[in-house]
């Protein structure tokens, strides 16, 4: 490897993602690991693997930005920036036309509205509740004893407009069981679960016009989530090349930009 690399590490509640880019914004390597109990350890693990994929070493790192809930646990980071800003930056780089970003993560769901200059105009996060998040999906899958991958595959075969109406994880689980008892096909119930999340996301959005980009682990792994969002928004959504890595990619881009503007950095961003 020759030349400096710029690193973004997104320590989320479920997964830790790392992206390594060069000074021309090209992705050289990336990796995702489970966050587990130890955020510092998971960050270190994702970094090592992403660097190996890039053919780079630690000495090549010119700058590193951490983001996500565990952003303050990344020792190697020069700065930490919220995942809201990082997702906005990452998606904007992939598709400058995007005006709305929906990020469905394990613990929270974010909706970010960009203005015509690509700046954050507004953003919202879910309340202190699992509704509309990956946890909602995982919880119901666990209750049914069916792997999430299988629920996604089943949902994609549904031809019915079934919606699970409950937002609450506990109530939604009960509703699913009632629907099973009522004899509803499992593919329709499966699709209904994704529609519940899409419905919750829809009401978080301050505006629905413009291109909508979707990110996060749920859309990366569940095609039915993308389908449900497209139904709710009544339009095609933009799925970036690495939806789960949008935050880490944005963090790497910010690392590159901060290194270029060294000396005029916003001092509110804490050093790691």
């Amino acid at each position: 490897m020759s030349g400096p690399v710029f690193v973004g590490i997104d320590v989320g509640s479920s997964a830790t993602k790392c992206v390594v880019i060069d000074d021309r914004f090209s992705v050289l390597g990336s990796h995702v690991v489970a966050s587990g109990f130890d955020y510092a350890e998971s960050a270190e693990s994702a970094l090592s693997r992403a660097l190996a994929e890039s053919g780079a070493s630690r000495n090549d790192i010119a700058s590193c930005v951490s983001t996500g809930y565990g952003r303050q646990h990344v020792d190697i980071a020069d700065r930490n920036v919220t995942e809201i800003s990082c997702h906005a930056r990452g998606v904007r780089e992939w598709s400058p036309e995007v005006r709305n970003i929906i990020d469905i993560g394990g613990q929270d769901t974010k909706v970010i509205r960009l203005n015509e200059r690509g700046q954050m105009a507004d953003y919202r996060m879910n309340a202190k509740c699992a509704a509309g998040t990956g946890t909602f999906l995982e919880s119901i899958a666990a209750r049914l004893g069916v792997p999430l991958k299988e629920i996604d595959a089943l949902a994609m075969t549904s031809t019915c407009g079934t919606v699970v109406n409950s937002y609450c994880t506990v109530f939604a689980g009960t509703e699913v069981i009632e629907r099973i008892k009522g004899g509803q096909p499992r593919e329709d119930i499966s699709m209904g679960i994704f529609r519940s999340i899409a419905s919750r996301v829809f009401e978080m959005m301050p505006a629905h016009d413009g291109v909508c980009g979707v990110t996060g682990g749920v859309v990366a792994h569940c095609r039915a989530m993308v389908r449900a969002l497209e139904e709710a928004l009544d339009t095609m959504v933009y799925l970036p090349p690495q939806p789960q890595h949008a935050g880490a990619f944005g963090a790497a881009l910010l690392a590159l930009e901060f290194s270029k503007t060294e000396g005029s950095q916003p001092s509110h961003v804490a050093r790691g």
Binding site: T82, D122, A127, K128, P266, S267, A270
Partner: protein, 413 residues
Amino acid sequence: MPATAKRIEIAAQKQLRPIVRDYFLNLDAAASDPARRVAWCTSIGPCEILTALGFEVYFPENHGALLGARKVSHEYIPRAVAAGYCAESCSYMTSDIGSALAGFSPLTEAFGIAGPPKPDLLVYSTNQCREVQDWWGFFGRRHEVPVLGITPPTHLGDVTAEHISFVRGELARLIDIIETHFGMKLNENHLTEVVARSSRASTLWNQILDTARVRPATFTFFDGLFHMSPVILMRGSQTAIDYYEVLLAEMSMRVRDGVGAVPNERYRVYWEGMPIWPKLREMSDKFFDLRAVVAASTYCNSWAFERFDGGDPLEWMAKTSIAIFINRDERFKQEFLVDMFDRFDIDGAIFHNARTCPNNTNSRFGMAQRLRDEQDRPILVFDGDLSDLRFFSTAQTMTNIEAFIEQLEERKR
């Protein structure tokens, strides 16, 4: 924030602690003296009448805030819930009732007294919320004392002569009932004196808050939450006036010398809604570290009343009790907020959606969205509560606030 940046303490606060301690010790002494009487009153209730009649006045909402600030509300709310009070009703109320049921008070540790003073009378005004009727009702039954109240018209656009006349009538009837029940007679000259002092304290408080209009702001929302106790607890007393004259002099000096509450102030924020009492220090530190000053708030401004220039004291009380922000309609509130944003040169506003305080939450009927659309200022709405941390996520809220400051920074670049 540079490691060298330090808070500049407000010197006057050294005088505040003994003032507040004396206030509670006096209440405690009055409660155990058969010759003296204690009344409990809502925070923007008709306390001037009670003071003029010779009652020592105690404010249960302050006790609710103390429970929150001492981070113990969650220990007592379940007791009130078990007694039939909804977990999503006012957490001041549920924590206060729960602590009474448990026989706990933060006043014991703070001032060495058993707890709130036993009342002879409970008086409320529903000008801030209707929950106070049921809160006071609980303690009325518990202490077997009368519960009296006024129920002013709410959600007012303009405050009309008819509104004022109606509330004045309610206040006059309240006086009649108290006089008859306790065999007292109100001295009208004394009431005028109390109202004049109340107005003077309020005017000084308003002037203190206004010193934060300069850059850098002299005073933050979090400072205000600490220093507002005299205008709530001792309204109508010379003590409050004397304290605020000292504090105003200090803040005026800060204006003259360009001393800011947050060194290297970069962002100016408005706080709409209730404070989060158990998280005050963390929130204050977060804004401080981000070089953001919360320069103004609706909450601290709630005790900034119109000046009393003589005349009928009951009319002034009637007018001030219904003219307050919380008692007004959406149009008035929105215009008020825009005016505050302009006056305090605000970069962005934060709306606290307090789960158990719908009346003091203004993000539930589209106002934040309308302001966002109409004003070139970012607005953040976040979920929380005044006391009950079960409705609050620290990590999520801090991320929200950091992202908000990043948004302000992006606009400055």
